[in-house]
């Protein structure tokens, strides 16, 4: 059963990340490929606080969320000045920069060796050590984040963000704030990323830079694409499907030496197939 639990835990964590990515990329139209970096900052801040016994779990989550909120605003700032594809490259750059920092800032991140023996999460003195309770915590966090996402998107704010994606100039001409709205989207996505990072670090009890690299950012993007952009359902379905996919594909019998490459290749083919034949993903709107 624990296998299924751990799958559900990771999937719920990635749903929270999927919400962040969907908010920026799908809804606000800010094509950020550096959300894994934010996720990593959340994880490292939490790990640092807990390993060095600076504070307890909940304050650490708050710290991580706060740090990610500020940082995400800063790294999204170029999007306010630089348009479209230029920002994509800037965003790729930020992701590579973050990876370099995770790898080389040994004092804070443990460098390539990562940080081990991260204590489990605890709520009001009750340590969450077994997988079952961790699952409850993660699902609860996921539901809260989904609720926040739903409320924000079905409000005048959500409508404002959609309008900004469609036509920034028209929004400005209607006397609405464009830059503060975008910055707020980045902030909200940052909070999601920070919370997800905290849960991830305490669940695995070990983190290293490989979980927060460019590939992870691309994986996040794929989750949103496959699940479906711009909708809550899409943000939830995507992570569940993509995390299950490699596990399911191992059951297809391919010569073992080739299996892995074939699997990863299939995964790329899937992206292309979706883009060609179903750009709205499984349950989203057309990108």
């Amino acid at each position: 059963m624990e296998y299924f639990y751990s799958y559900l835990i990771l999937a719920s964590i990635f749903v929270v990340l999927g919400l962040a990515t969907n908010l920026l990329v799908g809804i606000a139209g800010i094509f950020s490929v550096s959300q894994a970096a934010i996720f990593g900052v959340g994880a490292y801040v939490t790990a640092y606080c807990l390993v060095n016994e600076v504070m307890g779990f909940l304050p650490a989550v708050a710290c991580a969320a706060g740090a990610c909120l500020l940082l995400n605003i800063v790294i999204t700032l170029p999007a306010l000045r630089v348009a479209g594809d230029y920002f994509v490259v800037t965003s790729f750059g930020i992701q590579l920069l973050a990876t370099a920092a995770f790898l080389n800032w040994n004092g804070a991140t443990g460098g390539a060796s990562g940080m081990a023996a991260i204590p489990p999460a605890d709520l009001f003195g009750y340590a969450i050590e077994d997988t079952g309770s961790m699952l409850l915590l993660c699902v609860a966090a996921m539901l809260l984040c989904c609720l926040a996402f739903y409320l924000a998107m079905n409000s005048p704010y959500g409508r404002l963000l959609r309008a900004i994606r469609e036509d920034e100039l028209a929004v400005a001409a209607s006397g609405k704030p464009v830059i503060p709205a975008k910055a707020a989207a980045a902030a909200l996505a940052g909070v999601f990323g920070g919370v997800a990072g905290s849960l991830y670090a305490t669940f695995l009890s070990f983190i290293d830079p490989s979980s927060f690299d460019l590939n992870a950012s691309v994986l996040l993007l794929s989750m949103v694409v496959v699940g479906g952009a711009r909708t809550l359902a899409g943000s939830i379905i995507g992570p569940f499907v993509l995390l299950a996919l490699p596990q399911v594909l191992t059951m297809v019998e391919i010569p073992s030496t080739m299996a892995a490459g074939v699997r990863q290749g299939l995964y790329g083919a899937l992206l292309i197939a979706f883009m060609l034949f179903r750009p709205q993903g499984l349950a989203g709107q057309k990108l």
Partner: protein
């Protein structure tokens, strides 16, 4: 996998990509939960290796080595008539995927033993191994923190500290006083750098500079140039990847210092290069007996290299232990295999290996590469 499952899955695989694939595949995955091992079934063991991603090269070598040991063991009749089957899982070299794969193998497939490698993923799985009493066998990672990560973690290769200490000792004994270090930025190689620097300094030498390469990098020229300008007596190299390229580039730069390293130097692509002549390295016994190497080449289609040998050795050790457990008619659990392993203690499979702790001790030789062959220089024993 029963025929029914196989049919279901191939149907799904043939279906057009879309919603159907995922729901179908998910259902098939859930159906798998209900499967149980039967007595006539083969004994299933797990392996969590980086089969894709940047470390895939190493992962493929490890897989070949492990599969070689299993094929050989099965050909010889298996364990009490039961065949061994390895279920390979890909972790892409990432800790989170490793945890998922570990839980899958432990919960769904009920394997008593899981083979793995790489320091980060192994450290992530170690607490799970302790909790679930599944024996985690690390065949190649050498990060120092692995030594005490879990009682259920068996390292069939000495951690890097042992080799680095021997290298430092030998180099100091042969009059080297100024060392520069070139290392790959990953967990094991950075520990190796620290271990060597500590041992060498303690002996009275100085480390005058170090440069880092990233994994899968093959352009070492800037690093070599910079370190050369410091005029060291010796360049200590901690790389698992790209040694062939390093050999080529060193050959072209013709620096005046010795190049030294650890077991990872036994890399066929490096040995083929003229530039590797004169390199000195420590070596846990990585030479397979010639007939083993020939059999491997025939089976796998490639040379038996460092990781191939290590995983063939790790596999043989565990299979031998499992055979022992079966002879005892004990239940085949991770705990039983662990107990039996320490009871046997001394293994003479492909490489002579002894388990005083959960990390193997092996004899460590210092050798010199001459025209792609190792020339024995001196022998030490790891602690």
């Amino acid at each position: 996998m029963t025929d029914h499952h196989r049919a279901a899955i191939s149907d799904v695989a043939a279906a057009p990509v879309g919603r159907r694939l995922f729901t179908g595949a998910l259902l098939a995955g859930l159906a798998g939960l209900s499967r149980h091992a039967r007595a006539a079934d083969p004994i299933r063991l797990g392996a969590v290796l980086p089969l894709t991603g940047p470390s895939a090269a190493t992962g493929a070598q490890e897989q070949r080595g492990l599969q070689f040991a299993v094929t050989k063991f099965n050909a010889a009749g298996g364990a009490g008539g039961r065949m061994i089957e390895i279920l390979y899982e890909d972790n892409q070299g990432r800790p989170d995927q490793s945890v998922l794969a570990f839980n899958k193998l432990a919960d769904l497939n009920k394997v008593p033993v899981i083979f793995t490698g790489y320091t980060g993923p192994t450290l992530a799985m170690a607490p799970l191994a302790t909790r679930k009493k599944v024996l985690l066998v690390n065949g190649a990672a050498q990060g120092d923190r692995l030594a005490n990560a879990s009682p259920y973690l068996i390292n069939t290769l000495p951690v890097v500290r042992d080799e680095a200490a021997v290298a430092a000792r030998y180099l100091y004994e042969t009059g080297k006083r100024k060392a520069a270090i070139l290392f790959q930025n990953d967990a094991a190689m950075t520990s190796g750098r620290d271990d060597f620097a500590e041992a060498f300094t303690k002996l009275g030498g100085t480390v005058i500079g170090q440069e880092q390469s990233s994994f899968s990098q093959t352009d070492f020229r800037p690093a070599i140039l910079k370190l050369t300008s410091l005029e060291p007596d010796v360049l200590f190299v901690m790389l698992t990847d790209g040694l062939g390229a390093l050999a080529e580039q060193v050959e072209q730069a013709k620096p005046g210092f010795t190049i030294a390293g650890t077991s990872f130097f036994a890399d066929p692509t490096a040995l083929r290069q003229k530039g590797s002549t004169g390199w000195i390295h420590t070596q846990v016994r990585v030479k397979a007996p010639p007939e083993t190497a020939a059999a491997f080449k025939q089976q796998a289609g490639t040379e038996m290299d460092f990781f191939g040998i290590q995983y063939a050795n790790a596999g043989s050790i565990i299979l031998r232990t499992i055979a022992g457990v079966m002879t005892d008619k004990a239940e085949l659990s991770g705990e039983a295999i662990r107990t039996k392993l320490f009871a046997i203690r001394q293994f003479n499979e492909i490489i002579p290996t002894e388990f005083k702790t959960n990390t193997a001790s092996m004899q460590i030789d210092v050798v010199k590469i001459v025209d792609g062959k190792d020339e024995f220089v001196k022998s030490y024993t790891s602690e």
